[in-house]
């Protein structure tokens, strides 16, 4: 369950990052279309919400939110590091 919630958090933050002009540009070489931006934001929020549901299911209402917040940090950090040090290769 820890791994699932962590992966959801990572996926969520990656989607949220790609919904931002600058990072979308780093990743694809172009700014995202409005529709695409919306979709990425929606996907990001959905993944983070799912991570919350998983955390509550696994650890209950007392501990679940603590795990969730901790795993949010743990998921966002690799997203940031990847964008900085290993940006996806652009198509020529």
């Amino acid at each position: 369950m820890t791994l699932l919630a962590l992966l959801l958090s990572l996926a969520g933050f990656t989607a949220l990052a790609l919904a931002m002009d600058r990072h979308h540009h780093t990743a694809t070489g172009a700014r995202p279309a409005k529709r695409r931006k919306r979709l990425l934001q929606l996907a990001g929020i959905l993944a983070l919400t799912l991570a919350f549901v998983v955390a509550i299911a696994a650890w209950g209402w007392a501990y679940g939110p603590i795990y969730w917040l901790g795993l949010l940090t743990a998921g966002a950090a690799p997203a940031l590091l990847a964008l900085t040090y290993a940006p996806p290769r652009r198509k020529p």
């Binding site: 820890t2 933050f13 949220l16 990052a17 931002m20 600058r22 990072h23 007392a62 501990y63 603590i66 795990y67 917040l69 901790g70 795993l71 949010l72 940090t73 743990a74 966002a76 950090a77 997203a79 940031l80 590091l81 964008l83 900085t84």
Partner: protein, 525 residues
């Protein structure tokens, strides 16, 4: 700054507040954050610091051994006390109080005996272990505890101010959520500071606020003083003590501890005692008081069950019940993370490290911002801050590593050995501060960071060669805590060397750039 804050916009005024509230207490906050983060491994560090004792496998063995030891050494005592380890710790400690004597509240109890995992009395080197960092985190050192707590509380209040004003002043803190641009001087420090702050923002806000709550009765006593004549009266009502019981003089054997432990586990949903106190052992009026350990529940507070020492029946029990006490206890529990299983403990620790790095980057940022403006001009404030940064940010971890080495190298029979481990740490810290003021800061950074790295990396080497519990031994024994400690030391050492190397490389780059600019100017001139 002379215009005053009122003529500027709200955000600029917050920038001033953030910069100066941060700098003023930054060095103390760095100490608090670093030692707080390290304290999540308090028990593991203590275990590492006493390689004489192995891991505790069975609590009942230890408890029975402790009672047998007390029975043999102090059968006529007024009261026995056993401090039990949790899964992460090792070795129980027994103390006792003779009839007519007052209990020892602080400092070394001469009756203290260490009971090993096999239930037999044992001896380990005299050390404070992980407690030293834990205490330093909120009591500081070499001053009355209450002063330390006031200083820490004052700085924590500034931290809370810095968090709120920081979110306002770094206006792009959320827009720059994923942004880190390395190798760009001041820009990179700001990016790093922002990222470390925002990624673990829930933790930073939680830990600062709940930290203040742990000592709130000291900082904001007015709610208490308005309703109680004295603080003592408040404590007497909020945490009432058991009334002492007089011995009858009729001997009676103590009940078997096994069923007592089983009953406690049932009443506490599987919880375990951290302290067992036995009053009037061997008397008909014997009483066993179990206090629940902190590691198997979130809410910090007093959970107690009183048993009849002869029949083993439950007489009474206490648990936090009021909403206020549970809320406060929950916050304290969340802050200290004693309940946290390994996954969560790692998340707490890594967030704490992020907080430490956030404070450190904030301090460095202060100088990076001003260096460009000042050029080669001398400015006393800048000169001092630059050197204090080296002595604090690089010096403190070096001093803490010095404590670990003192733990390994000071002779075991030495008088006041535990104190000297701590003195060594502070002497080392003094030396790093001195070093920071006599060497050019560029060089001082690299020298202190690399020395810390090397000193950390050599610890596991020493342990393998000179103690019975090096990395390989602990791997063979399946002792996760000590394997983690040794690997942790290696990773930390490598990280310090990597930071030293990056610092050296970026300094070389800057020098090359400066030289190129000078050449260009000469060629044109």
């Amino acid at each position: 700054m002379k215009q005053g804050f009122t003529k500027q916009g709200f955000r600029q005024s917050q920038a001033g507040l953030h910069t100066w509230s941060g700098l003023l207490v930054g060095w103390v906050l760095y100490l608090i954050f670093l030692n707080g983060a390290v304290s999540y491994w308090r028990e593991e560090i203590t275990r590492w610091a006493q390689p004489e004792i192995g891991a505790t496998r069975n609590l009942e063995t230890v408890t029975r051994g402790a009672i047998a030891h007390l029975q043999a050494t102090a059968p006529k005592a007024a009261s026995w006390q056993i401090m039990l380890p949790d899964e992460r710790a090792s070795g129980a400690t027994t103390t006792y109080r003779e009839k007519g004597k007052k209990p020892v509240l602080r400092g070394d109890d001469p009756t203290a005996t260490l009971i090993g995992p096999d239930g037999k009395p044992t001896v380990a080197r005299d050390t404070e272990g992980g407690d030293v960092f834990y205490r330093l985190h909120f009591d500081l050192r070499y001053m009355p505890v209450i002063w330390g707590r006031w200083v820490v509380g004052f700085c924590s209040m500034f931290m809370l101010v810095a968090i709120v004003s920081g979110v306002i002043t770094h206006k792009k803190i959320f827009a720059d959520f994923f942004t880190f641009r390395p190798g760009k001087g001041q820009r990179s420090w700001l990016d790093g500071h922002n990222a470390l702050a925002v990624l673990a923002l829930p933790f930073h806000a939680m830990i600062t606020y709940t930290g203040l709550v742990t000592l709130m009765v000291i900082y904001v006593p007015f709610g208490v003083t308005a309703n109680y004549p004295t603080l003592k009266a408040y404590y007497a009502e909020s945490a009432p003590r058991l009334k002492p019981v007089k011995p009858t003089g009729q001997p009676a054997p103590l009940t078997d501890i096994g069923p007592v432990l089983a009953t406690a586990a049932r009443l506490w949903d599987g919880g375990q005692p951290g302290i067992i106190r036995i009053d009037n052992p061997g008397d008909k009026a014997a009483r066993i008081v179990l206090t629940r350990r902190a590691s198997d529940k979130l809410v910090d507070g007093r959970w107690e069950i009183v048993f009849d020492g002869v029949t083993g029946k439950v007489r009474s029990s206490v648990a936090p019940t009021s909403a206020g006490m549970i809320t406060r206890g929950g916050m304290i529990g969340l802050h200290a993370g004693r309940f946290a299983p390994m996954t969560l403990r790692w998340l707490f620790f890594l967030s704490g490290v992020a907080g430490t790095a956030m404070v450190a980057t904030g301090l460095v940022l202060w100088t990076a911002k001003r260096r460009a403006k000042l050029g080669t001009r001398f400015h006393l404030g800048f000169w001092v801050v630059e050197r204090l940064n080296v002595g604090a940010v690089a010096g403190l971890p070096l001093a803490m590593t010095g404590f670990l080495w003192a733990n390994r190298l000071l002779p075991t029979g030495m008088a006041h050995r535990a104190d000297w481990e701590v003195h060594t740490m502070f002497l080392a810290w003094g030396a790093t501060l001195l070093h920071a003021f006599v060497r050019p800061p560029n060089k001082a950074w690299i020298e202190q960071l690399s020395l810390t790295g090397v000193a950390l990396l050599l610890l596991p080497v020493f342990d393998q060669a000179a103690t019975p519990r090096g990395l390989i031994d602990s791997l063979k024994a399946g002792d996760g805590a000590l394997v983690g400690m040794e690997l942790g030391l290696l990773v930390l050492g490598a990280s310090f060397l990597a930071i030293a190397w990056r610092t050296a490389r970026s300094q070389a780059k800057r020098r090359a750039k400066d030289a190129a600019l000078v050449q260009l100017a000469q060629a044109r001139g």
